[in-house]
Structure formats: C-alpha cells, structure tokens
C-alpha cells in the first residue's frame, strides 16, 4: 500500500503552488502550506530532537525560515518536501549540540523495555507503526529505487546509515550504539553512501530508457537524481 505521504506528484504540485503564493506574501496560502506539511516535518524533527518542547520550537523556526525564503524556492530544482525536510534536519542537527549532555541514542535492543528513569522509553517516543530505523526502511515502499538500493547494502552499512539519517546520530554515537570502532563505522557509512549513489544512478538510467518509449505523464517531472 502506498504511504499517502509518498504520492509525490499531486501533493508536491499543490505544495509548490502554495509555496509560490506564500513567496508573494499570501498568508492564507502559507497557512494551508503549514496545515499540509507541518505534521510530516514535526515527525522528522521529533526523531532527531526528542525533547518535545525543543522540537516545537524548531518547528516554529522551520516555518519562519520557510516564510522568509518562500520567494526563492525554485520548483524546477527541488520538491517542496525535500526542501522542507532539509531545512528541518539542519535545524534539528544544529539543536543537538546545544542540547543536554546525554546523547539521544536509541537502544534498538531494548525497545520493548520501559526505558530509563530519566524519561519515556524509546518505544513511547517513536511513531505508532515504526519500531526503529530498520523497519522504517522497509516501509519506504514507494521509494522503490531507494529501497532496492538500500537492500543491496550490507546489514551493517544499512543499519549505520539508518541510525545516522533517521535518528541524527553522529559517527561516534553510531559507533557507541553498535559497539564498533569509530573508524569501522565511518567506513561503513562512507561505503554505503557510495553504493547508494551508483545504485541509484543505474536505476535512474534504466528508468529513463524505459520512459523514452512512452509519453510523459501529465504535469509533474521528478527531479534529476544524477
């Protein structure tokens, strides 16, 4: 079943249109843009910045930045959710170095436990139908190419990338989580990213050759994944 958030074409076009109007000062359009995207952005923020109050502040920061930069968003270069997600991730990662000293590490082995006395268990903080980064990857069903390429990674590479990406862990934190040397983890992540790139490039090439034989679907064009 396709996750509704992954229906890029229609949703992406709607968001881009709203963003364009917001860039011209249309407050109602911006309000609609917020209504249609904020929940997704909040989810991204909460995975990385697990302090809810801080995550709410970050959400404000994101949309204040979006309003100010809306006029410069180029729909030919990027999709609105991609742009939004990057803004959100940047702010969330920046917020981690200001946060308290304890690293926000998800203990994958102990997801069923009740967690620390210090706060809610990791399970309580995760969204309903996701048990951890590895399972989240499985749910990327509509990002077929990405899913396929992730599957071609080794388990260690895949897990390292998932921890870094979804939970915003640094190399050092991933190393601590997986009980591996720092150099090993860095190497896993680096190789994983290189593999992903070449795998995705091959997939895009195959897709283009396939599409050349058919008419373009109406309206929407995906960004290049060169």
């Amino acid at each position: 079943m396709t996750h509704p958030a992954l229906d890029w074409s229609a949703r992406s076009q709607e968001l881009a249109a709203l963003l364009a109007r917001a860039g011209l000062g249309d407050r109602k359009a911006f309000a609609q843009f917020y209504q249609r995207s904020a929940a997704q952005v909040f989810a991204v923020l909460l995975r990385i910045q697990r302090e809810r109050a801080l995550a709410e502040e970050l959400l404000q920061e994101v949309y204040v930045s979006v309003w100010k930069a809306a006029g410069s968003f180029d729909a030919h270069q990027s999709q609105p959710m991609t742009w939004l997600t990057q803004i959100a991730r940047n702010k969330a990662i920046d917020s981690l170095r200001r946060a308290q000293t304890q690293p926000q590490v998800v203990h994958l082995q102990s997801l069923g436990d009740e967690g620390d006395d210090d706060g809610p268990s990791a399970l309580e903080q995760l969204s309903d139908d996701a048990a951890g980064p590895a399972q989240l990857l499985e749910q990327a069903s509509d990002a077929r190419q990405l899913q396929h390429c992730m599957q071609s990674l080794s388990g260690a590479q895949r897990q390292s990338v998932a921890l870094a990406f979804y939970d915003g862990l640094s190399h050092a934190e991933v190393a601590e989580q997986l009980h591996q040397p720092l150099g090993t983890v860095k190497s896993w992540v680096r190789r994983a990213l290189v593999s992903l790139r070449s795998c995705l490039e091959r997939a895009v090439q195959r897709e283009r050759e396939g599409e050349a034989a058919h008419a373009q679907s109406a309206g929407y064009s995906r960004p290049r994944a060169a």
């Binding site: 909040f42 989810a43 990027s78 940047n90 996701a130 979804y166 190399h171 990213l193």
Partner: protein, 241 residues
Amino acid sequence: MDYAKPERADALAAQYVAGTLRGPARRRFEALLSSHPGLRGAVQRWQDRLLPLAAVLSPVQPPPRVWQAIQRRLWPAPATRPSAWRSLAWWRAATAFSLSAAIGLTFWLSAEGPAQAPVVVVLEATGAGLPDAPTGAQAAAPGRFVASFSADGRALVTRPLLPVTLAPERAFELWAVPPQGAPRSLGLISAQGLTVIKRAQLPQALLQGRTAALAVSVEPPGGSPTGAPTGPVVFAGKLQL
C-alpha cells in the same frame, strides 16, 4: 580538506545530507555553500537521493500553539488606536492647517440666501490600508473621495471620485480632524455612491471652521467601537476653498 576535488566534495555533500557531518566541519561546509555552486549541486543531488527516506515517518500533528506562535512572530498584531493616531498625527504635521479654509467655511456657514461656491475637499489615498494590512482593506490608490458642502448649506455630501475598493466586513467612516486633539466621527460613508450628512448631524467644530482636514478610516461594520479610528486611515484631505 580539498573541496576542489569533485569526489571529495561529493563525499562531504553526502555526509552533510545524511547527517554525519557534524560540528565545526559541518559549519564550515555550510558556510561554503553560498559561494560554491558545484557544492550546492552535489548537495541537491544527495538530497534528492536520501530525503525520500524521511517520507515514511508517520506524521505527528503539532499542537495549535505552534502555529499561533508562528503567526505572532511573522505578523505581529498592530496596535489599534495608537497606530491610527500615529498615521493621523504624521499626516497632520505634513499638511498645514489652512487658515483660508477656515475663513471660507465660516463664510459659507453664516451666509444664507444666494448659493455660495461649494467648498470641496478632495480626500486622496494616504497609502495606508495596503493589501497586507490586518484588516484586509485594499482602499489605497487609485481611489479618491470628494466631500463637498452643498451650496444651500444644508449638507455635507461625499462620493467616490475614482473607484474605491473596500474589503467585505468593513466600512468606511468619515472623521473631522481638528488641528489638535481627537478626530470627531461624521458617520459611515458609502464606498460606491453618495452619502448625505445633514447639517444638523455635523459637529460644531466642523461648522465653526475648527477643522483642519477630513479623513476616512476602515472600520468594522457599524463603525469604530471606540469612538476613535481603529483601522488604517486610507483617505485624507485638508480643507480648502
């Protein structure tokens, strides 16, 4: 770090997007983005590759207070009466009170019998009330009002000289502005056609020539609830012969 080598730049872009580039290295990288289009391109390509991963996260509805806070930060609610005052005061300072107008008006008011030359006040757009003003009124240029004292001295008549637009749920209110002190309301006026304000309804200050100008503000239906302008002052004209 050698950012010039494409492979190196691409590797850093990948780490930046994946989230593993941290600390001072991350800040240095971000600082370089604005001046390195090649680096920006690499980042864009990695964003397109990796960020779809985030789409599988189940949405989490933020509480309404976040949106309220965003609105307050981006669009602070303006002061109501004070800002209308400020715009009026500024305008008053910028336009001299016309003594001749006072004399003319007195002459008109005291004369009975043969018709006198009607006193016409042209109320030009002040530039306030632009589309993003909180009331939503778009009553600024090119609109123009005219207020004329009828020759028989019985009434003040207003009408738009050029088309004016008024937001729904809003009304125009006419004010008599003295050289100092609070404006006096002359009532609501139509945005489309004539409005006739009978002499008996005009305040003494206007009739005795102690009025520097007439002004129109945008108000809620029924007029200002406070007795002073609460919305933007969108038209104003000083009294003149």
